[in-house]
Symmetry: C2
Subunit: 385 residues, 2 copies
Amino acid sequence: MSFRFSLHGTDDGARRGQFETPHGVVQTPAFMPVGTQGAVKAALHRDVAEAGADIILGNTYHLFLRPGDELIARRGGLHRFIGWPHPVLTDSGGYQVFSLAARCVIREDGADFQSHLDGARHVLTPERAVDIQARLGSDIAMVLDECLAYPTTREDAAASMERSVRWARRCRERLAVLRSAAPPEVTVSNAGQAQFGIVQGGAFQDLRNESADATVDIGFEGYAIGGLSVGEPTGEMYAITGDTAARLPANQPRYLMGAGTPQDLVECVARGIDMFDCVMPTRNARNGQLFTSEGRINIKNARYAEDDRPLDPACACYTCRSHSRAYLRHLYLSGEMTAGALNTLHNLTFYLDTMRQIRDAIAFRTFETFRQGFLRSASRLSLDS
Amino acid sequence: MSFRFSLHGTDDGARRGQFETPHGVVQTPAFMPVGTQGAVKAALHRDVAEAGADIILGNTYHLFLRPGDELIARRGGLHRFIGWPHPVLTDSGGYQVFSLAARCVIREDGADFQSHLDGARHVLTPERAVDIQARLGSDIAMVLDECLAYPTTREDAAASMERSVRWARRCRERLAVLRSAAPPEVTVSNAGQAQFGIVQGGAFQDLRNESADATVDIGFEGYAIGGLSVGEPTGEMYAITGDTAARLPANQPRYLMGAGTPQDLVECVARGIDMFDCVMPTRNARNGQLFTSEGRINIKNARYAEDDRPLDPACACYTCRSHSRAYLRHLYLSGEMTAGALNTLHNLTFYLDTMRQIRDAIAFRTFETFRQGFLRSASRLSLDS
């Protein structure tokens, strides 16, 4: 196995570590920029790396539909196809099938859906999710799980969680087949690919516990907490994250899927999370919503029309070194593509810088001080509200 | 005066030189990427500079309407506002007023028009074009001229050319006022700003000669040839360019406005042109039309779906170093913003590399050999036709 997690140290619940993959080492806690279609939106790979990303996330649903996992396998796998030589994690495709595809029908076997691109019908089974990710050759693949909307009944949450466990077992079994004797139709692009299980159970901690125990019982290289950041109150999300993380093995990485705001990262690191992904820094950037150490900025606001200051005086990114708020506002209002590029570069740097500060604070065992300072600071507040 | 042109040497009609501006030196023959609204579309300034641009062009019409020349003057001028510390040339705004604005009415005094953004009425007089560019603080300002469509009658071309000469004189007189005693309402952002006259006259060489003589008689730091690349046959464009350039002072720079294809650059350098601007490399890039040393590529073409080669094996740009044609096609078809960014980076590099090769060939007095090789090569042909 090429995947290896090492825990360097802890500071209360927060954990400082790293994991090794066939494409390099990732320092944890880590934030993974989202590269949906094999590209982080509005950011060139070199800028993503320069902003401090060790690893990016690719969306299996999108890549399966276009350009197709078989084409990517023929190109030598996702890393070679997209020209990103560093680690990549892929999701299972399930979340987009349930949220983006048309006419999705979930059966025990898997999910039937129609492509949002051309209406073609497809079936995503646990085995197929494994095969597709094997062809993509990501460093970390995720099991296919069912992600319910919030709120849901206990009964629905239980049934869905139990199905997710059954699907997780099928995913692990399929990976074992691919590792020992892959059939000719599945090109395994990355023999060292790891596979993470996903804990579900909605907002019901006893179901979460049951899911965690059953998933750990199957045995994966790491564990994710799914089905959060779907509309539940923040306090509830933190509580479930903390209680669930505590139930997962200490010597394996824990990944909170789809979170979140900068303070979510800090709060969930405090609760034992090692990995995050979220579209927030990149999507908000394209909408002119910028994170700074002094608070959030909506660059469209007229107050920035003649503001010669950088977005964030504390930031060393290219955008902040080179441009004023006045210019960034002008680019945004003028519809220039460089608005999205410069804003994305900054927001990614803010997120990845926050992770670096988190890692340093844990290493120096000053994380609680950092956390309190971070949450007191204006960075979670809007300057424009 | 901060503007100084030096002719280093010639090779038949081709000229190798440089000009100095308050923001740095420009090697000639030079190509100026178009930064319409204070940004080269889809390219960050650092990438524009890295691609080899000494100077960019800004469009006065766009900047006047948004964010406004007075706001830019308050920010310290265009260079400081946009964060580009290198030379900038601005056009007069006339071309966009005639082609882009609504309900344009040209009178002897100037042009009445409605903003394409909000319908507001404005008047652009020669004096106002000078004032606006003084506030922008570009290193080279252009006189307001009238640019006719092709074809036109001799009578119309003559009347328009004569008006352009009268407007050029008014522009020069206004600049003299600003240089000696600018009124309080005109902030002069760049005291070393040069001003170029523009030769008009349509496709009638005798009118071109008359215009050239009258414009040189007024006296400017450099001279442009306007009103070409508007639909006339290429051979006619080359002939007028050559004959007109020959009539301009040898010790001042000559700028062919709005041209052109890579072979236009080579052919017009051969005819004595020192400066070019064109949206072709950037606009074509965003449409997936790419220039390579082996021919033009339409990246949408299915033949590139599994093509692992770089766009241009002879190119050292980031795009060609990092990505395959297959990936660039995927990005384009997926509507990713990075498609525009990577394609623009490449096309700009191709243009600016061509200019560097032109300059080297002139310096070594091998320009005719370079030219014949360049025109023989596939670079002007489409690989996808």
